[in-house]
């Protein structure tokens, strides 16, 4: 029990609103405004987590997004959320949190003990050197064990019920970070009337000003913040987003941000999202993201109770929490004095301040010494000891460059150590959108490199320290953004007076107290990477910072090295004897802090993953028992099952009815493209392998298109409705692709052609009516068309009416039967369908689905999607004769390359099962009954039971297949445990090869 609540202070908490929550099942109380970390520490809990590898006990290190240790799991079942930093969770009534990576409990973790024994072995790279045997699959075994020990929290497996929204925002100036620099920038830009968006990840604007003792424009810092916020809220051109993290900087000045809308609430509105993703399109971006304090690297530096000075300040100022009673403060930059003052003022007994620099800044040290706290110059924190948390530290002397020297040392008993290893500007976004960061020796850290996008960094993020300078920097950044936008730049100043303003340069100290027998000195706390791991990586040659990272996992934890990277690079640079800029830093990547996948996915999940396309007759199909099947974006009826029917029963019945009487099928999903203009026929001649200019008005023709590489792309009929007016149909799958091709040809390749194309797929609803009685049905329902063979011959296109609805009647057959298609405006589709359906009843008409459609076309040997698989040529498909020999067309130049005309190509054939057993799509064809290690001759593309032939048949692509006609081959389907089936190779035109029925 070492932390406690202070009677005063706590800018963010509301003492009148106690909040009850649980940690590892224990009921606890905090105040509204507390973070989980502050509330836990206030109640004396400081053991908050276990480390990744060694399961070491850990407390809070930082108080913001840099926190590596205090990860907890929130919620349960549908709300379970692992790996959340206790330092950023705002508590609410009923919050449930659990510690992670420990068993059976956080205090008594069974893994701690064995791991502390073997930990000499568990050094960086350990896994690469062992577990290679015995036996080839030994790793599979070890891996199971290791995976269980690794990982952090456990994910839920239940569906999340929350909503996630995504939205877009536009801003002239986006300001990321609402600390003093960000506020100065926002005010400056906002006052000019520019559209400004400011985002801050915290629950309030103000950033580090909450910990500041400064005055700005005569007001205490916090009051100035309040005034600024009030002013911004009154500006209609300024939008403020809090609890919103700008996590990624993308090309074209697009910034991704996630707003946590309701995570802090006990009562959540189900209509509001949990998180909202913002895609921000910014003219200019001002990055005022502040800086992160680094820990010191010394043995025992991970003991609970060793904290960053900034975290200590935050706990005191924002939450009125003192994290200990007796403290030592150590570091090598001016911030340790501010931390010390904060502790002293909070009533914590500070035993000593250790400043590694040879002479401390007198102005800052004086008030501290006046308060009776000894300030030791040239002093390092040598090591810390304790069992479950920190109990004592040893201070020792160092030389002017921070290297330990022999002699004086002093030991203090305490329960709190506040450290500062210097400040690292938060350059994540700048680095994502800029050149490599630059090393600044003055502040011993990297600052932003040259921008690649339109941004300016300011404040601590740009390496500027001292409140006055930071405010001025914010103004400067806003002005340069406004200038870049071509807007006038205002005069704007904010005057600060800061008693804690830094005075002296920091000193770089890398790692201290290492040596034989010393405890581990951690650099990356979460991933348990120690100073000696860095040394080992160096020894084994993993010296590039990127190798160091990958070999030791340094910086790869959830905090992405926010507190560890610079310490590690510094150590590696020392080992290499090279300056840090030569060593460089690892690459910064989005996200800056972890982002929920829900926010990135938004509402495009589950049933709404992609939109659905429905034909006008969709509901009719469903109401009439259709099994609807996804075909790309469309839904199509597969079969209309009657009670007791299987899919097979249904399609056989439907196909048989078509051959014997009549059936209708919804063909609305076919792609339709208007092709109009004086050069329309010329365009069609070029894009189809066969000729269209010779087509007369009122007629349709089947066409096949190739890709430029000479393989078959698409097929369909195209109708000439007028001299300059064609309607092209495409396969359902390629409708969009064909249109885009035509547009490309017209815009880019042949701009001289006067042709207009437009997608008309949605304009038309269509049905095909097929069967010997199709004409009789139509005669009762279609008006204004002469349906005689002379009036409407095969491939004729006629205009007529069904009731009041204007329709196009085309005599086209995919089934080999006498057949027609009727197309009408989409909104009339259902009426026409119902009219034809009703008219057909006396003739035994049934609706049929895609299965029967397939059966009918397979019986006729017509190719479709499974045969047009992007690898087949015209001649493979038996369509070689279609290719025009007169007019050149797309794909012709490459369609006869040697391998594309080789005699052993897989070509279209028919297969007839000799065994009264079904053939299945994807089954292969071999020469003998040998399912193993037999070269496959080809595969079954489209099988069916043929009611017309009373046999199982299939279309197939078989090597040199046409030469094999009459041969017996074997169809094998090992993956589905199919029995090998003997088949005969036959012509693909199984049924009515002469086409007599077309006219029947």
């Amino acid at each position: 029990m070492s932390g406690y609540r202070l009677p005063e202070r706590g800018a963010l908490i509301d003492r009148s609103r106690p909040v009850h929550f649980r940690f590892d099942g224990r009921p606890m109380t905090g105040f509204a405004g507390d973070t989980l970390a502050s509330a836990l520490i206030a109640s004396g809990t400081r053991l908050l987590g276990r480390s990744f590898k060694y399961h070491r006990p850990r407390g809070l290190l930082g108080a913001g997004v840099e926190e590596p240790n205090a990860l907890v799991t929130l919620g349960a079942a549908t709300t379970r959320e692992p790996n959340i930093q206790a330092s950023i969770i705002e508590i609410f009534e009923g919050l449930r949190s659990e510690s992670q990576n420990r068993w059976p409990s956080l205090r008594h973790d069974i893994m701690t003990w064995p791991l502390s024994i073997v930990n000499q072995g568990l050094k960086a790279g350990f896994y690469y050197k062992t577990f290679m045997g015995p036996g080839r699959r030994a790793w599979d075994f070890y891996e199971q064990v290791i995976r269980r020990a690794a990982g952090l929290g456990a994910a839920g497996k239940e569906m999340d019920q929350s909503r996630y929204e995504k939205t877009n925002a536009f801003a002239d100036v986006l300001v990321v970070g609402g600390g003093p620099a960000g506020l100065a920038a926002t005010l400056t830009a906002g006052r000019t009337g520019a559209r400004v968006l400011v985002v801050d990840e915290g629950p309030v604007l103000g950033g580090s000003l909450f910990e500041s003792r400064a005055t700005i424009d005569g007001l205490p810092a916090i009051d100035w913040v309040r005034a600024a916020v009030t002013e911004l809220q009154a500006m209609t051109n300024v939008r403020v987003l809090i609890r919103a993290t700008a996590y990624g900087y993308y090309d074209g000045n697009v910034v991704g941000a996630v707003e946590r809308v309701q995570d802090h609430l006990a009562e959540r509105d189900p209509d509001l999202p949990r998180h909202r993703h913002w895609t921000i399109h910014a003219g200019q971006v001002v990055l005022t993201t502040g800086a992160t304090q680094r820990p010191l690297v010394f043995p025992g530096n991970d003991l609970p109770g060793v904290m960053l000075g900034s975290a200590v300040e935050r706990l005191i100022a924002r939450y009125a929490v003192a994290p200990g009673r007796e403290a030592v403060v150590a570091g090598a930059d001016d911030s340790i004095y501010r931390t010390t003052l904060a502790l002293v003022e909070a009533g914590v007994a500070v035993r000593a301040v250790a400043d590694a620099r040879p002479s401390p800044p007198t102005d800052l040290a004086a008030p501290i010494e006046a308060a009776g706290v000894p300030v030791h110059a040239a002093t390092l924190l040598g090591q810390a000891k304790g069992s479950k948390d920190v109990g004592r530290v040893r201070l020792s002397r160092c030389d002017a460059s921070g290297r330990p020297t022999e002699g004086w040392s002093e030991t203090h008993s305490l329960d709190l150590v506040a450290v500062s290893g210097g400040w690292t500007p938060t350059i994540h976004l700048a680095s994502q959108a800029g050149g490599p960061p630059l090393w600044s020796p003055e502040i011993d850290a990297f600052v932003p490199g040259p921008p690649r996008e339109a941004w300016t960094a300011a404040g601590a993020a740009a390496g500027t320290f001292g409140l006055d300078a930071i405010l001025a920097d914010g103004v400067r950044a806003a002005c340069s953004a406004l200038a870049a936008l071509g807007r006038p730049t205002p005069q704007s100043t904010f005057a600060a007076s800061d008693p804690d303003a830094p005075q002296m340069a920091p000193l770089a100290i890398r790692a201290t107290g290492l040596g034989k027998g010393a405890d581990k000195a951690f650099i990356d706390f979460q991933n348990d990477v120690t100073a000696s791991d860095v040394k080992l990586a160096h020894q084994e040659g993993y010296r590039s910072v990127e190798h160091l990272k990958r070999y030791t996992t340094l910086g790869m934890a959830t905090d992405q090295g926010k507190t560890s990277n610079v310490n590690a690079l510094g150590l590696m640079a020392d080992l290499e004897g090279r300056p840090i800029p030569d060593v460089g830093t690892t690459r910064f990547r989005a996200p800056y802090t972890p982002v929920s996948l829900g926010a990135l996915a938004g509402r495009e999940i589950g049933g709404h993953f992609r939109p659905v396309r429905r034909t006008a007759m969709h509901d009719w199909h469903v109401a009439h028992g259709a099994d609807m099947l996804t075909t790309g974006a469309w839904m199509r009826p597969r079969v209309y099952r009657r009670p007791g029917e299987s899919v097979t029963d249904a399609y056989i019945r439907e196909a048989r009815t078509v051959r014997e009487a009549v059936g209708i099928v919804d063909v609305s999903t076919l792609g339709k493209i208007t092709v109009q203009g004086p050069d329309a026929a010329k365009l069609l001649d070029r894009v189809y392998a066969n000729t269209f200019s010779s087509l007369t008005v009122g007629r349709a023709r089947y066409g096949v298109m190739l890709r430029e590489d000479g393989f078959v792309y698409d097929d369909g009929t195209t109708w000439r409705l007028g001299e300059n007016d064609f309607l092209m149909t495409t396969t359902t799958a390629n409708a969009a692709g064909v249109l885009a091709r035509l547009e490309r040809h017209l815009a880019v390749d042949w701009p001289d052609l006067k042709v207009a194309v437009a997608s008309a797929t949605d304009q038309w609803a269509g049905l095909a009516i097929a069967g010997p009685k199709s004409r009789e049905v139509l005669r009762t329902v279609v008006a204004d068309v002469d349906l005689s063979d002379a009036g409407t011959p095969f491939m004729a296109v006629r205009k007529g009416r069904v009731g009041k609805v204007a329709v196009l009647v085309t005599r086209i057959s995919f089934s080999g039967e006498r057949a027609y298609e009727i197309h009408c405006g989409a909104r009339d589709g259902l009426a026409v369908w119902e009219a034809v359906h009703a008219a057909g009843q006396p003739f035994g008409l049934v609706p049929y689905g895609t299965e029967a459609l397939g059966t009918l076309r397979i019986e006729k040997g017509h190719v479709s999607g499974p045969e047009l698989d992007g690898r087949t040529t015209l001649s493979d498909l038996g369509l070689g004769k279609m290719a025009s020999t007169k007019t050149p067309f797309v794909g012709r130049a490459l369609m006869d390359r040697p391998a594309m005309i080789s005699p052993d190509r897989k070509v279209l054939v028919g297969l007839r099962s000799l065994a009264d057993a079904p053939l299945r799509t994807g089954a292969h064809i071999i020469a003998e009954r040998m399912p193993q290690d037999m070269p496959s001759l080809g595969h079954v593309t489209s099988p069916t039971f043929s009611p017309a032939l009373g046999a199982y048949i299939a279309l197939a692509l078989v090597s040199a297949g046409r030469e094999r006609t009459g041969e017996r081959l074997t169809v094998v389907d090992p993956i589905r445990n199919g029995t090998p089936t003997e088949v005969e190779v036959v012509s693909p035109h199984f049924f009515d090869p002469e086409g007599a029925r077309l006219h029947g």
Partner: protein
């Protein structure tokens, strides 16, 4: 990434379909196999400025020739590919 469509203005890349190297011009259809082979298969694929076609599929459906640096994704210029004086 945002692409400046000369017709529609600055739009998200997700509205466009990439159509590749704009310097590869289609030869006449009657050109020989070698010429078409080069057109269909061979690309300079430079690191640096690259002239490329983008189809504004979810917008005006025009083709835009964009010069873009493939090393940085910076967009250097954009122009509409369209029959000259197309009834604008």
């Amino acid at each position: 990434m945002r692409i400046p469509c000369p017709v529609c203005g600055l739009r998200s890349v997700s509205e466009f379909t990439y159509e590749g190297d704009a310097t590869v011009l289609r030869p006449p259809l009657e050109a020989d196999g070698d010429t078409w082979f080069a057109t269909v298969y061979e690309r300079r694929n430079p690191r640096g400025p690259h002239a490329e076609l983008w189809h504004h599929t979810q917008g005006c459906r025009c083709f835009v020739e964009v010069e873009r640096d493939t090393a940085t994704h910076a967009i250097l210029s954009a122009r509409l590919v369209t029959p000259t004086g197309a009834g604008i």
